[in-house]
């Protein structure tokens, strides 16, 4: 086949602890739009990073136009006609639009920029993309969507034969999205090949000619858009049903509503989020990347401001709305990135455990060492944290034990509501089970728990009920009997099929 533009064969990539890609084959023909989909961590991004020269594969070969090559750097990939628009928008606020477009390859005459050429070419490209902002505008005056367009214009400047778009629509408005779709179709008709990564099936099915579904570092299924149904795609994303039994609690009686979230809004982030949770209940927040889960968690615990809406907590027999500054003390919050946000790595286990309740541990502003010691001792024992001694630096603990330290800190002060963002990320199976048990224990003791987890099978093991988010909205509330298919369909925006 002459039309073969790229052929990747047997691509493998191992990161410490995970196999990101396991012998993946992918080929692209001229003028097609390939939809690359899969759940979080399926290996999509790793695969395109390999093609774009950002990551080196451990094994496997890449052929471009039938010629086997090694893509050692992004620059080299670019020279071979592969352009990559990354998910994170890479623009420079105080440079002009034209400068941003040409930043990788300025046209010069005796080391001076050819401003005229930059302007004309940028203008032409932006007109093609249907953008009307000026080429001499500073990028800081542009909207996020327009900035995204600037990065696409930059990618197109090298006349690529393959253009990789990683989640290009996540920051675009509907108009901007439609404009992008039109441009993609136009360029495809001119012979450009696309890899289009998206979490939104409706988008993928409307623009792509063919889809490849990845799961756990392998291709789970593929086919042309005419052959594959959305339902089939969802099946491929989930894979074989997980056989693990959920950690069910003996005491399943739910108490009163303990957390009442009403109409939480934050421009561009959260859209009218309302839900309730009861005492003794574990509510799973499910959604794909960029759906606003972490943003919701941060808003709940009062770390991020909201434009409107209330968060009320049960006190006595009444639900009382709480200001964000108060909520920081009332919610036990376990952040997504425990090393960066959750722990004081150079401090000891003891200090990390005591840090939230320091007031209770001190007199006249001085920390009482005895109290701090006994508190640490108590919770190290209760949560089964494995340390050589309580003065050990938290940095030196394993992931599971670090996470227990974060939890111990809160359990020690006993907040009524816990918000756990990815509490089991990166832990081994044993540690995961222990964290799950701890969550069940807290719920049985009457605490209300909100859990975010991007591993659906894992979330299923702890959650009593689900709220599903997409683009900052709660799009569904599903009961305990919801299966993985339901959850994935709703999250990926394919819910009207059942």
């Amino acid at each position: 086949m002459n039309n073969l533009v790229v052929r990747m064969s047997g691509i493998s990539k191992v990161f410490p602890g995970t196999i990101a890609l396991d012998g993946v084959d992918l080929s692209l023909t001229k003028g097609e739009v390939l939809g690359l989909i899969g759940a979080n961590g399926a290996g999509k991004s790793t695969l395109v990073n390999v093609l774009a020269g950002i990551l080196k594969p451990d094994s496997g070969t890449i052929e471009i136009h039938g010629e086997q090559i090694e893509v050692r750097s992004p620059r080299e990939a670019q020279l071979k006609g592969i352009a990559f628009v990354q998910q994170e928008i890479a623009t420079f606020a105080t440079l002009t639009v034209a400068e941003n477009i040409f930043i990788q390859d300025f046209p010069t005459h005796r080391t001076l920029l050819k401003r005229g050429e930059m302007r004309t070419k940028s203008r032409e490209m932006l007109d093609r993309l249907g953008c009307y902002f000026g080429v001499d505008d500073d990028v800081e005056t542009l909207s996020t969507g327009d900035r995204q367009m600037v990065t696409i214009a930059r990618a197109l400047m090298s006349n690529p034969s393959v253009l990789i778009l990683d989640e290009p629509t996540s920051s675009l408005s509907v108009n901007e999205k439609n404009r992008l779709m039109t441009v993609v179709k136009q360029l495809r008709d001119q012979g450009v090949t696309f890899i289009f990564i998206s979490h939104y099936l409706s988008e993928v099915f409307s623009i792509c000619d063919r889809i490849v579904v990845m799961r756990n570092g392998v291709v789970a299924g593929s086919g042309t858009i005419a052959e594959v149904t959305m339902q089939q795609a969802v099946e491929w994303m989930i894979g074989a049903a997980n056989s693990q039994q959920p950690t069910r609690r003996s005491n399943m009686e739910l108490g009163d509503v303990a957390l009442d979230v009403r109409n939480l809004n934050r421009l561009g982030v959260l859209d009218d989020v309302s839900f309730q949770a009861r005492r003794g209940e574990v509510v799973g927040v499910w959604g794909l990347m960029g759906s606003g889960r972490t943003e919701l968690a941060r808003a709940l615990v009062g770390l991020d401001p909201v434009d409107s809406g209330t968060v009320a907590i049960l006190e006595g027999s009444e639900l009382l709305p709480k200001r964000s500054s108060r909520r920081r003390n009332l919610f036990g919050y376990v952040p997504e990135d425990r090393r960066q946000e959750g722990l004081f790595l150079p401090l000891s286990v003891k200090q990390n455990i005591g840090i939230v309740g320091l007031k209770g541990l001190s007199r006249f502003g001085l920390v009482l060492r005895k109290k701090e010691n006994s508190l640490a001792e108590q919770f190290i024992k209760r949560l089964g944290i494995r340390v050589s001694n309580m003065d050990q630096q938290v940095r030196t603990l394993s992931g599971g034990n670090q996470q227990k330290v974060v939890l111990a800190r809160w359990v020690a002060v006993g907040p009524p509501v816990y918000v756990l963002d990815e509490p089991m990320r990166g832990l081994d199976i044993g540690a995961k089970a222990q964290i799950r048990e701890l969550i069940s224990e807290l719920a049985s003791a009457g605490m209300t728990i909100v859990v975010i987890d991007s591993e659906l099978s894992e979330l299923k093991l702890v959650a009593d009920r689900y709220i599903v988010m997409r683009r900052g909205r709660v799009v569904a509330e599903l009961g305990h009997d919801a299966d993985e298919h339901n959850l994935m369909s709703v999250a990926a925006g394919a819910e009207n099929l059942t």
């Binding site: 420079f92 105080t94 440079l95 990788q104 909207s143 409706s202 859209d271």
Partner: protein, 348 residues
């Protein structure tokens, strides 16, 4: 240009004040001193002011390049001192011709800039810490070389202190050329744009393939070289090398850069007219207070106030640019509103 016009028509008087507030203040200060000090507004005084700021303009311009890249170089004063010292010692001890020793001073500056760059780029050490250490070390080295004695300049160099083209001191031309060339480098070359991009966001710059270490390296070399040149100019003005040469100059240079509207966060500001205006402001105030016979300590107080006002005015201007941020958010919220009502195009 278009932007400035729209800012004017859009925001009215308030907009004008915010956009040009700084120049207005400078004009008011000049106006005030010309009323109270009879000789303030004269050709002679104007030239004296330009003559006085020439060395600091050169040094601050070099520093600004580093600041554009989001870094800082507070060793410039010590680099000025050490390069001047090395140049003169080579002349006296090894018989290097006096004229060549001036060129050597610039070379030494470039070299010392390279030392800073190696520490910052190679060892990945914070630029404030690295250049603070070098500020102390370079000065110590220079004091060792001079034995804390002042060095008198040879005749061939001393006469440069009075050299003029027409009525104008030549160091004014030197400073002017440095400003214009460096301004072109920053605004009109890939190197300059890459420096600005790095100052905007180092990670993003690396992601689009800009050579971040190499470019940062060059920025520190430019800063060092110009500190060497500025040191030579200051030395010529004084007529000798004393152990005070360049002392405190790093902070004057930082003040000049900041007053000139260069953001210490990087990626923003200009050599021309930014650095020039910054230096002018400081010297106009000093010169004016001097002429009205004010308490010398008053100058320091007023300098402090000027720095504060400059930064505050600058932050106001940035704040005014914010409304676009709101637009961003609005654009973003659009998909949420319509996503739900949007039918699935491809139903099976």
């Amino acid at each position: 240009m278009k932007q400035k016009l729209s800012a004017l028509s859009g925001a009215g008087l308030l907009g004008i004040v915010q956009q040009y507030g700084f120049i207005i203040v400078l004009a008011l200060v000049i106006g005030y001193f010309s009323l109270v000090a009879p000789f303030f507004l004269s050709w002679g005084n104007a030239l004296a002011i330009l003559h006085a700021i020439a060395p600091i303009v050169v040094i601050a311009a070099g520093l600004a390049v580093v600041v554009f890249a989001g870094k800082i170089d507070i060793s410039v004063g010590s680099v000025a001192f050490l390069s001047a010292t090395v140049g003169m010692r080579l002349h006296y001890d090894l018989g290097v011709p006096a004229e060549s020793s001036l060129a050597i001073m610039i070379l030494v500056g470039l070299l010392l800039g390279g030392v800073n760059a190696i520490i910052i780029v190679g060892l990945k050490i914070n630029s404030l810490v690295a250049t603070l250490a070098m500020m102390i070390a370079f000065r110590g080295l220079a004091l060792t070389l001079t034995g804390s004695q002042s060095i008198t300049l040879p005749e061939q160099i001393r006469i440069l202190g009075n050299a003029k083209i027409g009525p104008i001191f030549i160091d004014i031309f030197v400073a002017l050329v440095v400003l214009l060339v460096l301004n072109a480098v920053i605004k009109q070359t890939p190197l300059g744009r890459h420096i600005m991009a790095i100052g905007n966001d180092e990670d993003t710059a690396a992601r689009v393939g800009i050579d971040v270490p190499g470019t940062t390296f060059i920025a520190f070399i430019i800063s060092g070289g110009l500190a060497g040149l500025g040191g030579a100019m200051a030395m010529v003005q004084v007529g000798s090398i004393t152990s005070f040469l360049g002392q405190g100059l790093e902070f004057t240079a930082v003040a000049v850069v900041v007053i000139g509207g260069v953001s210490l966060y990087g990626g923003m500001g200009s050599i021309w007219p930014g650095v020039l205006l910054g230096a002018l402001t400081l010297e106009v105030v000093r010169n004016g207070l001097n002429q009205v016979g004010a308490d010398p300590y008053l100058y320091q107080i007023i300098t402090g106030v000027v720095i504060f006002v400059a930064i505050y005015a600058f932050s106001l201007r940035r704040f005014r640019a914010k409304p676009s941020g709101v637009r961003v958010a609005e654009a973003n919220s659009a998909p949420e509103v319509s996503e739900a009502s949007k039918p699935n195009q491809k139903m099976v």
